[in-house]
Symmetry: C2
């Protein structure tokens, strides 16, 4: 009965708000041609679910960073830094970070944009680039045409082959949907799964705020489970179970479980035993598993912390759980965020549900072709022995090495600071240090109506030009403070040096720890 | 009170359905490790709003067309045609239609993909192409980076300039949002405007099914108003008013009005007097106007049927109505559907609401950069006197001329058929002929559980390989039958000949009119 009362109350309250407004509106004159009574559009007129959407990665701090950047561009010199470093977003190719795109992918993409170019670059560009572009053109025709709504069939076939080679289990192009980045896929799946104000979705805390934002957008009920920081942000089955019990008490109906592996913002990687236990738990509780695996290629210590896909684990266990697995061209060594390319694979999903997903995908017509081409190059990189291979290997090795170096150096240096502890992430692009803050800083934040880590991050931005995201944007235990920083910045020594200097001054300013 | 009872009943019924399900689920064992009771994911588990989404443009017929295409590709020869012509989608660059992309835009795009290419093509490609790419690169950096969530500032500035030059009124880049095609913009605005099961949106009938699909997705209430076919599918204020009266009776709360101008599927263009009356009506009824203007450059008789933007009319009338205007790179003479590029402009929208829209845009990170580059080339085409101009002019003139010729020839020939009448569209890419069908065909359709025009369209596809969309997908008056066909097919004589032959045989097969 708890379940009924909670959902019923929510819907009732929501309804009352709307109807009050509707009745007020209906009092305005109907068909009065003499005196227009135009009301302006205000936020209170809008879908009330939208007000609850929060997306800290591009929130107050990002807007302030933009303002600083504009000031610098206009020649202002009263800021104590000369450039803004956007460490709030995993955006490797942004200005100032400038992770170089992979030559192979971009040459293929340029040929797709302008096929007559082939005659200009023949003999100058590697033959496998020309061959790939020709193969894709023959399949696709113009990249200015809508493709199949699930994505170009040949590219979905390549994705399925990539998955088969990765996992050792069959994969079907019919179960692959190409998407405008992983976010678009997550949004589609949550929209389809969530019955508003009824469906609960288990999400890790800390989490990538796409999940809370999308749950708010579609009026799903977030069911948080805490990751264990002392164990390197590991996923605890007990925490998930207690979140399920709490959901039962609160009358929310848990229908899906989100796992981000490797983790965002934590960089943690699930071990196989935990993954198997998660799958069994989904079986027991009829949960749909959403596996966000966009960082699967960002592994800093693959020998001790390898990546296993949930698809592989589900098949190895012969489990019937419904699974959606997400991947992207935005992360890994590709880093092609601006293309908006990605895919999801459906495992143990009935034809009936696949047809519904296809219908919904068709309303948005098709994912951007430039993203689809990016997915092709992600899943079919140059192989050893092909003309493009040596350069591709050199480029990707350098990106892996730089990311590993920056992560490990930053973690070590942050851990040496007073009041800072930081899990040395084995994967993804991030560190998520915990910071102890002076009581006076906490009081000052309260006075300003901000979370303490938001105060810390704002002062960091104003002092150094480094934009991070406070832990309150990802979720943390009460009384704890964190921030997420990306490990994408070149000149890591200088960058970490600035973080160190700021931290010491901040602690001192507010009276010490 | 009508308003309360309808919305309340809807929400109540929806809630009852969900709770019945939720209670059933809660009976499954909780934490039973011994016997997993995994239920498969079935459509009945999903968001009930999704079941109501219909999108005929890519529905049953499109799927069958795909099957025919696959058969032909695999060498099947038992079909009475040699190619499938997808006249169901306004997709100019698709295989078989092959409208060539504009050289200027594609050369710029290729340089953006692979900047070192500039050294290879310098002196070979026009200098204005190299200059444009350089300007964009300096602003954007890598197109593999996320941009500002509203789109690259320089490109939004170019859009604002384009609008100012078009309308003669100011436009601000701050009021422009770049989007993944116009569809993504429409979806965002409807999601934000619609309070589920409460908000009514006036939509033209016939309409582009994006609107009914998106309303179903977000549980908005469609309030149809009929366009007047005898007057060339004109927009009738009386029809809108009677839809408003009906909404009041039904207890739906009208909050927004959709106008598609030039029309889809009708190709009609609103005259200025009608537009002014529409704006006044929005003032009187506090309606937000959604102006879908993606076909603004597809004008076949601009002297007698010019395009005016609603932004221009709103400003000329000094009207306070909130207006969202949509445009796209997919239509016009650009035809770059696969890039997923477009924008919307906000007029008379408060900063508070703009901030909410920005927040929602930020959750999807950014529109694809390839689409944004496409928007730049759409709003800043080569000007007279620049090196790329002559070719650009030749290419765009040819596309305009071909579309005009195909539209007029097809309309004339269809009008000569018994039982067919067809408004000779002055704009957009479509014709929407009305067809009288033999009684026996109507009976046969009823027997098969199909709409009569769906039967007609299916038999047309099986006989000729031409895929059109039945009128039932766009909406029409009871007892009427239509279909929409695109006017993008080269070899229009042969194409219309096939339509004629089929029509005569169909009428004969079912016993005549």
């Amino acid at each position: 009965m708890h379940m009924i009362s909670l959902a019923s109350r929510r819907v009732h309250n929501q309804l009352r708000t709307h109807l009050t407004r509707a009745v007020t509106l209906s009092q305005s004159s109907f068909f009065s041609h003499s005196s227009p009574t135009m009301r302006p559009l205000v936020a209170a007129d809008l879908n009330p679910a939208i007000a609850n959407v929060q997306y800290a990665v591009r929130g107050e701090l990002a807007i302030k960073a933009e303002e600083h950047r504009e000031k610098l561009a206009s020649g202002t010199t009263d800021l104590p830094f000369t450039k803004v470093i956007s460490s709030n977003i995993g955006n490797p190719q942004q200005k100032g970070l400038d992770q170089p795109p992979l030559t192979f992918s971009r040459q293929v993409a340029a040929l797709m944009e302008y096929p007559p170019l082939a005659e200009v670059v023949r003999g100058k560009w590697p033959q496998d680039v020309l061959d790939r572009a020709k193969e894709l053109q023959e399949e696709i025709g113009s990249i200015g045409a809508y493709s199949h709504s699930k994505g170009v069939p040949l590219i979905r076939k390549s994705v399925a082959q990539f998955i088969e080679e990765r996992d050792g289990y069959p994969s079907s192009p019919e179960h692959i949907f190409l998407t405008a980045g992983a976010s678009a896929g997550v949004s589609l799946i949550l929209n389809v799964l969530i019955t508003p104000n009824v469906t609960g979705v288990l999400i890790p805390i800390p989490q990538y705020p796409l999940y809370t934002a999308t749950l708010a957008q579609f009026s799903g009920i977030p069911l948080p489970y805490h990751l264990s920081e002392p164990d390197g942000w590991s996923t605890s089955l007990e925490e998930i179970k207690s979140a399920l019990l709490k959901a039962e008490k609160d009358g929310a109906h848990p229908r899906a479980l989100v796992v981000i592996n490797p983790g965002n913002p934590t960089g943690a990687i699930l071990d196989r035993a935990t993954m198997e236990a998660v799958v069994r738990l989904c079986e027991e509780h009829s949960l749909v598993l959403l596996a966000d695996e966009v960082y699967q290629a960002n592994l800093h210590r693959p020998d001790t912390h390898p990546f296993h896909s949930f698809k592989q684990v589900v098949r190895a266990l012969n489990s019937p759980i419904p699974l959606f697995s997400f991947h992207s061209v935005s992360k890994g060594v590709t880093g092609e965020c601006g293309r908006r390319g990605g895919y999801f694979e459906c495992t143990n999903i009935s034809d009936e549900v696949l047809a519904l997903l296809y219908k919904m995908a068709s309303v948005t017509l098709c994912p951007p072709l430039s993203g689809q081409i990016g997915v092709d190059c992600l899943v079919r990189p140059p192989k050893a022995g092909t003309p493009s291979y040596a350069l591709w290997k050199q480029e990707t090795d350098a990106i892996h090495a730089a990311l590993r170096h920056r992560t490990q150096l930053s973690a070590a240096r942050l851990n040496a600071l007073p009041g800072v502890s930081c899990v040395d992430s084995p994967g993804a692009l991030y560190l998520y240090p915990k910071i102890e803050l002076p009581d006076r800083a906490v009081e000052e934040a309260r006075r300003l109506g901000k979370s303490p880590d938001a105060l810390y991050a704002l002062e960091l931005l104003d002092a150094t030009g480094i934009c991070v995201v406070p832990g309150s944007g990802f979720g943390q235990k009460d009384g704890e403070h964190h921030y997420r920083l990306t490990c994408l910045c070149p000149g890591v020594e200088e960058y970490v040096g600035a973080l160190e200097d700021f931290h010491k001054k901040f602690v001192e300013k507010y009276g010490g720890l």
